[in-house]
Symmetry: C2
Subunit: 425 residues, 2 copies
């Protein structure tokens, strides 16, 4: 390629699955690309719960963005925080006062966990979206066992050994399953004053069943698989309060020191930047070609967008959907550069839904076939290792899992940052 | 072993190399043991600089203490902060208000980095003693490159690309060498607006040569090896000031945003807890048998103690010395339990000094032979992998190093925690 300094400038905000896919699919196109992210790393979010439960190290599921695109000389990576968009002048505004001019803008800024108007619950019920979230949750879980070992009051000890997960979607199920294994397998025999098997792991779901996005028989299988792991499941009662001392759901109250939030997400501020309408969780209702309403030069993909492009149903908020959207946007950009401007509607093709329950069981719904149990777990494992980006990380994660599987030893059981000493409570 | 609940109670404060060695060497003795540490993990400090420079993940050099002693049913591990010692009543006082009664107490509480009366420098010149220190330094180094990429002012960019390491001991040399490799090898080609090879890495040592504890020829070799890596070495000028904008040493001033402190340590508060005399860095001058003056039932080992037991010279503050002291204390305790109370003087046997300069060169002084270059590096590498505690970690670190060596790819280049956005400065 020749000099691209005056080429069409594609600016991608957010280097998640969607944003990176746009960059990858634009390889060879006559464009220059700037990736802007407030983090220096791409995060393999589907495995984040394994960092939170001490199975994987942070560096096994995250890679520096600029390292991933190092061979693409036309791609510039900026670590910067976006504060707004001046769409009239086609400029992205940054927190440091800088601006980035764009010809085409792609917003792939994702979502955060949300508390349905109860942001005051966040300190007591952290969610899981970033590496910091994961290490904070890991610290909270491990510290609770440590404090229980020092605690002499039986009631306080019971509260310290009660782990509540709010939300029965895939993340909640995965957290509950792995915490149960931590307590009932990995930690057994390492404490002298408590028996970690006495820990209660309680999964609270407001709806009538866990994993509502799956077929009912798979959901029922996951339910019984979780119960076999020792997880208590509470259905049909929404959480009404989270405090330092426990959780209130429906008419019931549980004393606990660890509440984990896996109940809902809220899209990023992209809708506010553009001043376009958004749905109840702040997702932009995009046009059929994934552009923002009234802004054909701005595309919105992934968890920040909503579109009924799955046989008339909304596209799910999962990595493969974000990647398909990224691919579609890259193709649209390339076609436009050739002079064709008729919009190409996006169609989502669902390849399957997966959820894992601990380290021996999973459920998979491919549509044409439904799998469950250890076969599903191995397919899940291979699929995830396959999709991990770095060659080395594939190997590292495979080794980590193999090790945990064979030895029952979780290597990343580190309490770091924040409150170190166990307080008598 | 039978019921040990009334057995002689050995309380070990600090699960570093010394403290853990006491516990390991007391295996089979008719004692019960309590290990108290304010961290949940044992840290392999000699490799901490590799976490700080993004080569290793935190979980590759740290292990949960209770996991290391899980098979020793007579050993209890407590995550707690010690605030004092009631030696009259033989009780250890904890921050949570609790107390632990002991028959024999072992203080192996280590040291922190110190600023010679200039604690106000700490925010600008962090030291390297804990996992948090290492991830904080990693963040600072990586963030400085990221900010330089966004910076338009040439002078500010130059300051962002200037890395100063204060202290020419092994840690300072190791940090300088690996940062030089990061800038000149690993990061090359990943930035678009800066050339990371333009980074200056400057090692400041107040004395006349780096690595003063080594023989002069090895020190000279390390000096030229560092210069070959691109490190500038400034000798003979002590640091007079560290600020947000730079460092003043002797009559010179350097503009920099990253100062790393490897210049001095200060022992823990053990001397204050006991009310016994301490030297200028707060180390307790222990009796020949490693007991605290006036307290035959209290032993002090590792970086918290000082003793002239190396042919009349002070024992060095390195891991093998702490382990030898731990072994000596364990043997003394076992002999005392058999009724013999005559004190056994500790003698230090030096097996060698090692320091590494980047990933291709090291120096080793065994006393009877001196080695340098790549042979020394491989011996250093094998020695460190051999002494890593967990089987899996040995494998993981070996693989990490092999990968970095072969591919030039550093896997742990993550900016986490703290200030995320790059500020325009």
């Amino acid at each position: 390629m020749g000099d691209l300094s005056h080429a069409h400038h594609v600016v991608i905000v957010g280097a998640g699955f969607g944003g990176l896919e746009v960059a990858h699919r634009l390889a060879g196109a006559p464009v220059r690309i700037t990736i802007v992210d407030q983090r220096n790393h791409h995060l393999f979010q589907p495995l984040l719960y394994q960092v939170a439960t001490a199975s994987l190290a942070t560096s096994e599921i995250a890679w520096p963005i600029r390292h991933l695109v190092r061979r693409r000389k036309e791609v510039t990576t900026l670590l910067a925080v976006v504060t707004g968009i001046d769409s009239g002048n086609a400029k992205l505004l940054l927190a440091d006062g800088g601006m980035v001019a764009y010809d085409t803008l792609v917003l792939a800024t994702g979502a955060r966990h949300a508390y349905f108007g109860h942001d005051e619950w966040e300190p007591y019920a952290p969610g899981l979206k970033t590496l910091e979230d994961a290490t904070a949750i890991r610290r909270r879980i491990l510290l609770s066992f440590e404090r229980a070992e020092c605690e002499t009051d039986a009631e306080c000890r019971a509260a310290l050994l009660t782990f509540v997960i709010v939300g029965g979607g895939p993340t909640g199920v995965e957290l509950a399953g792995t915490i149960a294994e931590l307590a009932n397998e990995n930690l057994v025999g390492e404490f002298r004053r408590i028996d970690t098997r006495e820990a209660r792991i309680i999964l609270i779901e407001a709806g009538p069943r866990i994993l509502p996005s799956f077929a009912e028989d798979l959901s029922a299988y996951a339910h019984s698989a979780l119960k076999r792991l020792g997880v208590e499941i509470e259905l049909g009662r929404p959480v009404r309060e989270c405090t330092d001392n426990g959780v209130v759901f429906g008419d019931r109250k549980l004393s606990t020191k660890v509440i984990l939030w896996a109940a809902g997400v809220q899209a990023s501020s992209a809708a506010d930047w553009l001043g376009v309408p958004a749905d109840h969780v702040n997702r932009i209702k995009v046009e059929p070609d994934l552009s923002a309403p009234g802004h054909p030069e701005i595309f919105v993909i992934g968890d920040t967008a909503t579109i009924d492009a799955w046989h008339g149903k909304p596209v799910p908020g999962i990595a493969p959907a974000a990647k398909q959207q990224g691919r579609h946007v890259a193709t649209t950009i390339k076609i436009r550069l050739r002079g064709c401007i008729s919009p190409r509607p996006f169609r989502y093709r669902h390849s399957g839904s997966l959820a894992t329950i601990g380290k021996r069981s999973a459920i998979i719904d491919f549509g044409w076939i439904r799998l469950r149990g250890w076969v599903a777990w191995w397919i899940w494992g291979f699929a995830h290792i396959y999709f991990l980006i770095g060659v080395r990380n594939r190997l590292a994660v495979a080794l980590s899992w193999l090790w945990i599987y064979v030895s029952g030893d979780r290597s990343a059981r580190l309490i770091t940052q924040g409150e170190q000493p166990p307080k008598q409570e």
